[in-house]
Every structure is written in C-alpha cells, then in structure tokens.
C-alpha cells in the first residue's frame, strides 16, 4: 500500500475513534506532547496504562471476591483507573469507571460485578484500537513517512 494511502487510513481511523467515543480530546493532548526528544511518548504512556490496568483488574477482582466487600478500597482502585484512563483520553473506559463508582457508593455488589465486566470489555476494546493505531504509525515510519497530525474542529 502506498504511503499516502496508509497515512489517509491512519487519519480516518483516528477520526473514527473520536466519533465512536473511544478517544477524547485528552488523547490529542498526549499526541501534542510527543516530539523529537520523546518520539515514543504516546506509546510509552499508553503501555503504562495497560500495565497498570492489569494490576488494577486483579485488585478489583480480588476485592469483589471477598465475603465482606470493602467498598472503600474498591472505590479507590476504580478512582485510580478512572484517573489514568482519563489521562490518556480513553473515554469509554473512563465512563465505565464513573458508573462503577456510583455502584460502589451505594454498595451494590451486583452492579459492581456488572461494571467490572464492562470496564474490562472497554479496556480490551480500546487496547485493540491502540494496537491498530500504533501498527499504522509504524508502517508509515517504516516507509520513511511522517505521522500526520490530527486536526479536529469542534
């Protein structure tokens, strides 16, 4: 595939992620921070997020498995996940966390369990999306091109 075609594909794909609510403006912010001194910044930060996520997922699963669920502890884990997902612009994960916290507030175990599944699903979904994004970027760079910056009008 020609370089220009891959570049167009990347732009279209990224825009679709915004349209579908997977990503929000915060992700644009991250991209703006990437520069020659830190060419892999976005990749590093996103990777950090998924590392954290695996640990948090573990904590959440264990916490909900207890005979007496510690909702405060549960909430603090979800709060952390909400914070980091929001920092990378993973909007749907963030929203799932907000719903999760609401159920923690009212100490509804069933609700929490459902939300846990929801959060898990959204994370794996967006992980897939990121992988595609990064793969397209790599293809562009391997062809000697530069990654186009996204400009969005709101």
């Amino acid at each position: 595939m020609e370089l220009v075609q891959i570049q167009r594909r990347l732009v279209d794909y990224t825009k679709s992620l915004f349209m579908e609510g997977f990503l929000d403006a915060q992700f644009l912010q991250l991209q703006q921070l990437q520069d020659d001194s830190n060419p892999d910044f976005v990749f590093e930060v996103v990777s950090l997020f998924f590392e954290d996520f695996e640990k948090l997922l573990n904590e959440l699963t264990i916490a909900l498995d207890q005979p007496n669920v510690d909702f405060k502890k549960l909430d603090s884990h979800v709060h952390q996940l909400k914070g980091s997902s929001s920092s990378i612009g993973a909007q749907r994960v963030k929203n799932a966390c907000i719903a999760f916290r609401n159920y923690c507030d009212v100490q509804n175990i069933e609700g929490c369990l459902t939300c846990l599944q929801q959060v898990k699903q959204e994370c794996y979904l967006v992980k897939n999306k990121f992988e595609t994004l990064f793969r397209l970027e790599q293809q562009i760079m391997a062809s000697g091109g530069s990654v186009p910056t996204i400009e969005l009008g709101f």
């Binding site: 403006a25 921070l33 709060h79 914070g83 980091s84 929001s86 990378i88």
Partner: protein, 178 residues
Amino acid sequence: MHGNIWVVQNPQGSAQSMALVIRFQLRPSVSITINELGESSDQPCSNSLFKGLQVLLADDDDLNRAVTRKLLEKLGCSVSAVTSGFECLTSIGPASSPFQIVILELQMPELDGFEVAMRIRKFRSRNWPLIVAMTASADDDTWERCSQIGINGVIRKPVLLQGIAIELRKVLMQANKV
C-alpha cells in the same frame, strides 16, 4: 494585514488598473484543543514566563506524573518529580531550595497534598514557594480548603496544556504583584 493597494490612473483620470497586495504570514499548523471553558484556542507555545521555571512535581501515580511532567517541560519548565508527600517535603526542606513552584496532587496515600502544603506554609515563608494543587475533584469545598491552607492555585485533572498554562500564569502574575 500589512497590505497595500494602489490604482494606476489613465490620462482621463479613471482607474486603468488596480493592484492589491496582501501579506499573509505562514503559520505552523495549529491543532485545536478544548480547554476547560469549552473554548477552542491555539496551543500556547513555550512562554518566556515559564522558561527555566524550577518546578517540583509530586504525584504518586506513574502515568499522571509522566504526562504532567511532559506538559510542564513543553511549556519550558525545568521539572523535578517525586512520588510521595514525604519526598516532596524532603526536596523542599533546606532553607534555600531551588524550586519556585510546587505542583502537588492532593490525593496521595500516606501524606496527602493538603498536609504537605500545610507543612510547607508552616515551616517556610507564607508565600514561597508557590504551591499549585492538582485534583480530579475541584469543587468549591476543595478550592476553599486550598485557599485557607495557603495554596495559590488549583488545576483540574485530567490536565491539559491550556489548563496548566493559564493557572500557572495566574499564580505567577499574582505573586509578582505582592
């Protein structure tokens, strides 16, 4: 637009031809970011106000710390980062610490941002270094509490370049007036 317009007249006095020159400046491609107020504006470039500003950043979350650090460096600040309230106090400890601004996450385990700020204000001068709090929950109560402790500004998370730049600028301007 620093342009020019002139008319060449023919012998009868009416216009024979007109020329219009408009000078456009080539600008770098601008990305639109949404700031907290919902307005879109240009990305603030490294401002002389922030160039070389010595900042101490305290945040226990690796991801958030990495992003905030990068944002500050993008503005031109010189950043030192610590991962806890205790480390923060240790870094400021000596009477003449190099930091002009301390940026502090409020929700940290063991020693939170409020505590750190209170101790800084208690054992150092009333106005130095400048303290800016970061929090995901910036409601009126938080602001009130920060104000009483002597925190100079509050940044709402998730942090945007625009948000940090505006708040830091405000805090620095106010400090200069005192």
